[in-house]
């Protein structure tokens, strides 16, 4: 077993921020070290959680689309939602999960724009659910800069 990727990236961050940065007198080099260290910390967090957050979010969007069709009177959009719900699962490579997420979030943009034009109780409920999902999406992506 080798040290995990987050462990290595956090070690790099610690070296840059605590060993090298105090020895750097030059402002531009100092800023670059500071940003690089912080970036390494964020990459460590993202590496650890990327697959989990994408699986969670893709499932949440598919569930939302599955429930949305009743509120949609646009036949083409409804068909797209059905297709997204029926699509086979992707593999667990982050790149594959990310591509699926890109497709689903693009469809979410179109669904949201459509729902905003419909005045019905079902549309308003769907609109509220979309806003809740958007807020949740920012929580899933949140990173912190505390040195692990």
């Amino acid at each position: 077993m080798v040290p995990s990727v987050p462990l290595v990236l956090n070690g790099l961050a610690r070296t840059m921020l605590m060993d090298l940065l105090p020895q750097t007198a030059h402002a531009y080099s100092g800023q670059t070290l500071q940003l690089s260290g912080a970036l390494a910390m964020m990459c460590a967090q993202e590496f650890e959680r990327a697959a989990a957050r994408l699986v969670e979010e893709n499932a949440a969007l598919v569930a939302l689309f599955g429930d949305a069709t009743a509120a949609i009177d646009d036949a083409a959009l409804r068909e797209e939602l059905h297709a997204a719900v029926a699509a086979p699962p992707t593999g667990l490579l982050v790149s594959a999960l990310h591509e699926r997420n890109r497709v689903l979030r693009g469809l979410l943009v179109r669904l949201h724009a459509h729902v905003e034009t419909v005045d019905s109780p079902a549309a308003r409920a769907l609109d509220a659910r979309i806003w809740a999902e958007l807020l949740e999406s920012t929580r899933r992506r949140q990173l912190d800069l505390a040195l692990a």
Binding site: H26, A27, Y28, G30, Q31, T32, L35, S36, A38, L39, M42, C43, E46, H98, N101, R102, R105, G106, L108, V109, H112, A113, E116, W131, L134, L135, S137, T138, R141, Q142, L143, L145
Partner: protein, 340 residues
């Protein structure tokens, strides 16, 4: 030829009656992700044999950046406020010939002895100066808003929109930036764009100079004294409330305590600005421009992400802002839309 040699060759050719010119110090200044900013110390002899020394700032076009902006327009906005109540570094030369430093650039006089980084205002030792600095910051912003625009050099290079076109022009531009640069769908930014189009603001009381990035971090200061407003790369003519709203954006509330730039409550800043400019602030219009500011900022972060991802730029700041600010900006936009 090294960059330092190229800089020396340029100043030797540009400065009048300069002999035995030497660049005694050259270093890149951090920040300023839209252009490379270099500090240059130059020493030379005049024809009489008298020794001269001067510090300059060179703003060179980057290979790629957070902001796609026109250096001539930026230079003309500096010219517009040289020797005015709005302090700026004196602009000297605009050079579009890439043979000097590989890319176009312009040169300004350097203002020495000042701080520019926002972190310094958060230092507890700076606390006694915050209120005074905030007053000057918003008095100067009011002076920018109150400056008649017709005779300004910038009016030769930048379009002046009709009052009722100000909001639409900016929104169209920044929606285009997001269309062009997003690496993946942006459902929150798109919802923000739709809200902005459904709820347009009233026309401004007057069309003014808009700095475009007015905030703590983009001026040179010493205690409560502001010696120069810098980073005019997004300057344009438009609604002066745009600058006010931008300066209040949560991204610049460095201490996350609701204080704009870490130094002033937005309500206090509005009062200073209104008293000085003689203009009023319509709360609904300010809300529109605050929401717009979140969308514009997202356009900037998405541009940096695209430039880095496509390999047009290696500046680590672009990767950092992608990771740190795109999601944070989405959250700020949700707050502006009152969805948090």
């Amino acid at each position: 030829m090294s960059f330092e040699d190229s800089v020396a060759r340029y100043f030797a050719a540009r400065l009048h009656d300069a002999h035995d010119l030497q660049v005694t110090r050259l270093y890149r200044i951090p920040g300023g992700a839209s252009r490379e900013t270099w500090s240059v110390d130059v020493r030379w002899l005049e024809g009489t044999g008298k020794e001269r020394k001067q510090g300059f700032i060179v703003r060179r076009d980057p290979e790629a950046s957070l902001v796609d902006s026109d250096r001539r327009v930026e230079f003309d906005f500096y010219r517009s406020f040289a020797d005015s109540a709005v302090p700026v570094p004196r602009p000297l030369y605009l050079e579009t010939d890439p043979t000097w430093l590989e890319r176009p650039f312009f040169v300004m006089e350097r203002i020495d002895g000042c701080e520019s980084q926002f972190q310094a205002v958060l230092d507890p030792g700076f606390a006694p100066h915050r209120a005074g600095l905030a007053r000057r910051m918003y008095e100067i912003l009011a002076d920018i808003a109150a400056t008649p625009i017709d005779a300004l050099p910038a009016a030769e290079s930048a379009d002046v929109p009709a009052p009722d076109a100000c909001w639409r022009r900016e929104l169209d531009y920044w929606e285009g930036v997001i269309d062009k640069h997003e690496l993946e769908p942006q459902p929150i930014a798109r919802a923000g764009l739709r809200w902005l189009r459904r709820n347009p603001p009233p026309p401004p009381q007057r069309v003014s100079v808009v700095h475009g990035d007015y905030r703590v971090g983009n001026f040179l200061y010493r205690g409560e004294h502001i010696a120069g407003i810098v980073d005019w790369e997004m300057a344009h003519f438009g609604d002066p409330l745009e600058d006010l709203a931008w300066s209040f954006m949560p991204a610049w509330q460095w201490a996350r305590d609701g204080m704009a730039g870490g130094i002033v409550a937005p309500d206090d800043a509005v009062r200073i600005w209104e008293e000085r400019s003689g203009l009023g602030v319509d709360p609904a219009a300010l809300r529109w421009w605050s929401t717009f500011s979140c969308v514009k900022a997202q356009g900037i972060w998405l541009t940096g992400a695209r430039e880095f991802a496509d390999g047009r730029a290696q500046d680590i700041m672009l990767a950092f802002t992608s990771y740190w600010l795109i999601n944070a900006q989405d959250r700020f936009l949700l707050q502006a839309l009152r969805r948090v």
